[in-house]
Each structure stands twice: as structure tokens, then as C-alpha cells.
């Protein structure tokens, strides 16, 4: 199994083998949280700690976005006072955090996931329902049939 050095290479020479969906964790209410349970399909592809780190960081970002505290109250009251017209020129705190999340995911993809033949999709593209992780198979290795069972992928680093 050849190594994928970057995202571009991954896309140009790999084919999609499987997709894993990390579902939402509603045990703390309706705030956005994803389950940190390590899916079995990724066992051979990535270390558990790396995966859990990613999900935990994402959960922290979302918690920060949805935090109800001084700053959000201020923003809410100011918006109400200006009849919500202020949102035409200013972006909400949530949107700012979403941009940070997008950047983080891109960085994670480039540094951690693409070299292992994986790709993390930003949850906002999936309606905040799931974190979709695509598992890629190197097209060069014609012998391998199922992506998740090939162990050699883990040596790609």
C-alpha cells in the first residue's frame, strides 16, 4: 500500500472504499456533541488516541460556540436593540467558531488523516448530524479488495 503524502495525492490516486459515520451524542441535551466511541472500521487505519483527540476538540469547539454566557447575552441584546440589523455587518459568534472548526478539520485532514488514507468531512456539510470519515483505498494496489480489512494501510506513515 503506497503512502498518501497529502490530500491532493489522496484524491488523485485513491478510490473510496467505505464511509464511517460518527453520530451525535445527545446525552447532554440538544447541544452539539459527537460520540467519541472508536468505530471498528478505523481500527486498522488510525490510532485510537488521534481519533478521540479530533472528536474531543471538535466537541469543545461546538460547546464554545453554543455557550450561553456573558458574551452571547451581550450579542443577543445588542442584536435585539438594533432590530437584528447588526447581523448584516457582523457575523455571529457561532459563525466565527464554525470557521475555526473548518480550519481545524482541514489541518487535521492534511496532517493526520490523509497520510492514513482517510478524509474527515466537516459536520456542517452533513447538517451537523454526523462526522463522516471516508476511507480510501489506494487504486495502485489492485489486489486488495476490502479497504477496512487491509492492515498494510496502517504502515503508511
Amino acid at each position: 500500500m503506497s503512502t498518501f503524502h497529502n490530500l491532493q495525492e489522496l484524491r488523485h490516486s485513491a478510490s473510496l472504499a467505505n464511509k464511517v459515520f460518527i453520530q451525535r451524542d445527545y446525552s447532554e441535551g440538544t447541544t452539539c456533541r459527537f460520540q467519541t466511541k472508536f468505530p471498528s472500521e478505523l481500527e486498522s487505519r488510525i490510532e485510537r488516541t488521534l481519533f478521540e483527540d479530533t472528536v474531543k476538540t471538535l466537541n469543545n469547539y461546538y460547546a464554545e460556540a453554543e455557550k450561553i454566557g456573558g458574551q452571547s447575552y451581550l450579542e443577543g441584546c445588542l442584536a435585539c436593540a438594533t432590530a437584528y440589523l447588526i447581523f448584516l455587518c457582523m457575523e455571529t459568534r457561532y459563525e466565527k467558531v464554525l470557521k475555526k472548526i473548518a480550519k481545524y478539520i482541514q489541518e487535521q485532514n492534511e496532517k493526520v488523516y490523509a497520510p492514513r488514507g482517510l478524509l474527515v468531512t466537516d459536520p456542517i456539510d452533513r447538517g451537523m448530524r454526523v462526522i463522516e470519515i471516508s476511507i480510501y483505498e489506494d487504486r495502485g494496489s489492485s489486489g486488495s479488495s476490502s479497504g477496512s480489512s487491509s492492515v498494510s494501510g496502517s504502515t503508511a506513515r
Binding site: L7, Q8, R129
Partner: protein, 502 residues
């Protein structure tokens, strides 16, 4: 901004042309058709205006009535009553009236035009994955499984999450499916015909501000029109006063009838906000102590002040349905087990036309052969010209077959027009139960929903196009083992065959 968008689109298109210059299927015409925006292929029953900026429910007649009532009453007030009052009492009256009027109008438009918190439907891969999990959980038996629910414990209270057959997702807690708009809405409160939209997580505060300010405005106009008539009657007599200002009578009548309903509604919603409940939950008695001694609202923060602040001043989540984004070509689809029928992934780039160009090929076709050397996953098409370059949407560089736009009407959507009463906004709460009961009979029909154009329209029966057949066969062996996939696949293939003759 727009220029940037079209340039990046062109960039994508150039890439596609350059790698597939020999195809007869790829006519230059196809690559130059403008890309559609996502709102144009939105599966719900909503109406969009201003190129996707405005989103409303399908029936908007009552909304125009609301608007007309407010505009006419305020117009009459400013024209006939304000001059007298400004002179006799103080000019502050029209000023306050004006401010209130603008606030009411602003919040009304904001409530009506914004996305209430619609949850986008699951794409084919997600839906298939969920189906697999459900089948595994139920132990795949031959016959239809019982209604799908998941239980989750939130703050010590057990909450049941229901599976929405239309949207193919497990609804998050407090979400509900609006049968009028045919969408799952987060923190669904009710569908308000007066506002012409659902009231959900994203526009609840605007709705509350609207009815609150409208109550103040109604009381304001009512009291000052009465004052006007009284002052005039002192000078000129009652009948003469009425003759001089006939509009006042109309205003009084409208305001009198409105006050009861609007003020009542404001009071009701104030109660709901302070206890952090939705109309839906209150009507169903989800958290009432009558259900059980230990039944309590797990979402409440404990005190009224925090609940109010959270509902009104909490963070405003962004819209999850990217209305104005461009429909991009299919993300790579997972290859399901084939039944000897090879199909290829569709792209949405030409979806505007009701032309079905699905080709179901039983063997390697000239088309596929020409693409045999193509890598499956090609260029990234940045959306809106503004997204990150290195991430996300992978475009399928395949021949552009398009699916016809089928408008899915869920078989169990029960039009609850009977619940509409002119006087009050009765909540049309999601028909979660009814979905569950009647769906076992209509499972086959539900499969057709796989074919409805969404972000990723291809049914599971489609292979990523451009990849050589042999490789695909080898790939498919490893996954989607459960037998249930076959029935799913068969249904979707059946649906495909149906569509190709449309």
C-alpha cells in the same frame, strides 16, 4: 463575490473538460449550463424568493393577511389619529408608534423569511448506514421491523428519539417533522400560518419578539384611538367625532379583537420560554407531572431568568441547509453489491431540466470504457467561491447523467389543514407517531426517496462513474454484507428503471 464564484466554477469545469476531451457524451453545451443553487432542488415543500435568500412555507395567504392588517391599521392610525394627538397631546406619540411599528414589521419579516432550523435530509450513504445499524440492532428478520426509536438519557430523563422516514434520520431531541413543510425542524415549536413559516430553533426569538411587540402596538393604538375619540367628543360631540374620523372605528374594532388573541398568545409563550418548553411539548404534555411523578423537563436550566436568557439571547445557530450554495457534482458514492446491473453516479449539474438521462447498463459500455483510465475522484469544486481550498467536496469526474427531479411527497404526510383555525395559531406538531404507524405498510415507497435529488442524489445502486468495471467488482466484495442491502438495492434499481422511462 459573484465573479469569484463563477471563476472558481469555471476552474472546475476546465478541469473536467481537459481530462475527458474524447467523450462524445460531454458536449460543450453541458459544461456551459449555469450551476443551480441548492434551494432549487430543495426536497421540502418550501417556497424560496430572492434567489434563495427568503424561505417560506408553501401556503402564504394568511401571512399576506397579517401584513395587510398591520399595514392598514397602522397606516390609518398615522394618517388620521396621529395629527390630532400630536397637536393636542405630544408629538412623542407618533414617534413611539413609528418605532413600535418598524420593530413589529422587522421581526415579522425576520420570522417569516428565515430558516426555522430545518434539518437537511440524510444523503444516501448515511441513510444506508443507519438502515444497516437498525437491521443489526433488530436482528435482520424477513419482515418489517417495528417503528424505529432510540432511547437516550438526557439529564436523568429518558427521551425517545424517533426515526423520520421522510428525512431518513433519527430526529434529535425536540425536533419534529412538520407535515405542512415536509421538513424536520430543530426545536420545533409549531407551524404558524399567520407568519407563513414554521417556528423553530432559529426563528423562535424573532417570533416571540414579534408577538410581544405586536401586543404593545395593538394596545398602544387601541388606547390612543380611544383617547382621540374621547378628546374629540369633548369638543365636538360623540357622533360628530365619529364622523370626522371614521377610520378610528375600524382601528378600534381590529385592535379590540386582536388584543385578546395576541396578548393571550404572548402570555402563553412567555410561560413557555420561562419553563423552556416548546408549544409542541406543552400540547403533548411531555414534561407534565401528570405523566409520572419523576417526569420533569430535562432542558430547563432551573430558573426562569436563565431560561428566558437562553431562549432569547442565546447564540443563533447558522442555517444547516445551504440555500444559496451551488449544487456540486456528486461526492463519491460507495459501491454497493451489484446485481449484475451496472449504473453510474449522477451529477446534479444539469438537474434543472426534467430530462432523465439515466442509463442502466448491464455490461461494460463504450462510455465506461472510455473512462477506464480515469481516476474516480478528481477536482474539488469549491462552493460559493469562498470555502477552503483543500477540503471537503470531492467532485466525481464522471459523465453527467442527471436524475429527474422527483418531488417526494411522503406517503404519510397528513395535511393537517383541519387544525388551522383562523383565530388562533394552533400548533401543527410533527406527526412523528403517524409516521411510525403507517410507514411499515409503505416501506417500498419510501425507498424511492433515495432517488430524490439532494446533495447526493444517486441511489445506492449507482457506482462511482468512470471506474473500470473490474476494479469495482473487486471493491464491492468487502462491504455492505448484510442481506438487507439487497432488498434496498433492488428497490432502488426498480425505481431507477421506472425513472428511466419517465
Amino acid at each position: 463575490m459573484h465573479l469569484g464564484v463563477s471563476e472558481s466554477m469555471r476552474e472546475c469545469e476546465y478541469n473536467q473538460i481537459s481530462t475527458r476531451s474524447s467523450t462524445p457524451m460531454e458536449t460543450p453545451y453541458k459544461n456551459r449550463t449555469p450551476k443551480k443553487r441548492k434551494w432549487e432542488s430543495f426536497p421540502g415543500r418550501n417556497k424560496f424568493y430572492c434567489n434563495g435568500r427568503i424561505m417560506m412555507a408553501k401556503q402564504t395567504g394568511v401571512f399576506y393577511l397579517t401584513l395587510a392588517l398591520i399595514l392598514v391599521t397602522c397606516g390609518l392610525f398615522f394618517t388620521f389619529d396621529c395629527p390630532f394627538l400630536a397637536l393636542q397631546l405630544t408629538p412623542v406619540i407618533p414617534v413611539i408608534g413609528g418605532v413600535l411599528f418598524l420593530f413589529v414589521l422587522g421581526t415579522l419579516l425576520r420570522t417569516s423569511f428565515s430558516d426555522p432550523g430545518v434539518l437537511p435530509r440524510a444523503n444516501a450513504d448515511e441513510a444506508a448506514d443507519l438502515e444497516r445499524q437498525i437491521d443489526v440492532a433488530n436482528g435482520s428478520t424477513g419482515y418489517r421491523p417495528p417503528p424505529r426509536t432510540k432511547e437516550v438519557v438526557i439529564n436523568g430523563q429518558t427521551v425517545k428519539l424517533k426515526y423520520c422516514f421522510t428525512c431518513k434520520i433519527f430526529r434529535p431531541p425536540r425536533a419534529s417533522h412538520c407535515s405542512l413543510c415536509d421538513n424536520c425542524v430543530e426545536r420545533f415549536d409549531h407551524h404558524c400560518p399567520w407568519v407563513g413559516n414554521c417556528v423553530g430553533r432559529r426563528n423562535y426569538r424573532f417570533f416571540y419578539m414579534f408577538i410581544l411587540s405586536l401586543s404593545f402596538l395593538t394596545i398602544f393604538i387601541f388606547s390612543f384611538v380611544i383617547t382621540h375619540i374621547i378628546l374629540r367628543s369633548h369638543r365636538f360631540g360623540f357622533l360628530s367625532a365619529l364622523k370626522d374620523s371614521p377610520a378610528s372605528v375600524l382601528e378600534v374594532v381590529v385592535c379590540f379583537f386582536s388584543v385578546w388573541s395576541i396578548v393571550g398568545l404572548s402570555g402563553f409563550h412567555t410561560y413557555l420560554i420561562s419553563s423552556n418548553q416548546t408549544t409542541n411539548e406543552d400540547i403533548k404534555g411531555s414534561w407534565s407531572s401528570k405523566r409520572g411523578k419523576d417526569n420533569y423537563n430535562p432542558y430547563s436550566y432551573g430558573n426562569i431568568f436563565t431560561n428566558c436568557c437562553a431562549a432569547l439571547c442565546g447564540p443563533l445557530p447558522p442555517s444547516l441547509i445551504d440555500r444559496r450554495g451551488f449544487v456540486r457534482s456528486d461526492a463519491p458514492q460507495l459501491a454497493p453489491p451489484t446485481n449484475g446491473i451496472t449504473t453510474y453516479g449522477a451529477t446534479q449539474s444539469q438537474q434543472g431540466h426534467m430530462v432523465s438521462e439515466i442509463k442502466i447498463k448491464a455490461a461494460a459500455t463504450p462510455l465506461l470504457q472510455q473512462h477506464s483510465s480515469e481516476p474516480v475522484i478528481l477536482t474539488t469544486c469549491p462552493e460559493n467561491g469562498g470555502s477552503m481550498p483543500g477540503r471537503g467536496p470531492l467532485t466525481l469526474g464522471g459523465p453527467c447523467a442527471s436524475l429527474p427531479l422527483g418531488q417526494p411527497t411522503p406517503p404519510t404526510s397528513i395535511p393537517s389543514l383541519g387544525c388551522h383555525e383562523a383565530a388562533d395559531m394552533l400548533p401543527i406538531h410533527g406527526h412523528g407517531h403517524s409516521h411510525n404507524h403507517s410507514h411499515p405498510l409503505q416501506e417500498p415507497v419510501a425507498h424511492h426517496h433515495f432517488l430524490t435529488p439532494e446533495e447526493v442524489p444517486s441511489p445506492p445502486g449507482m457506482l462511482p462513474c468512470g471506474s473500470p468495471m473490474g476494479h469495482n467488482h473487486a471493491m464491492q466484495a468487502g462491504f455492505y454484507n448484510p442481506a438487507s442491502q439487497d432488498s434496498l438495492h433492488e428497490d432502488s434499481v426498480r425505481g431507477l428503471v421506472k425513472l428511466s422511462f419517465v
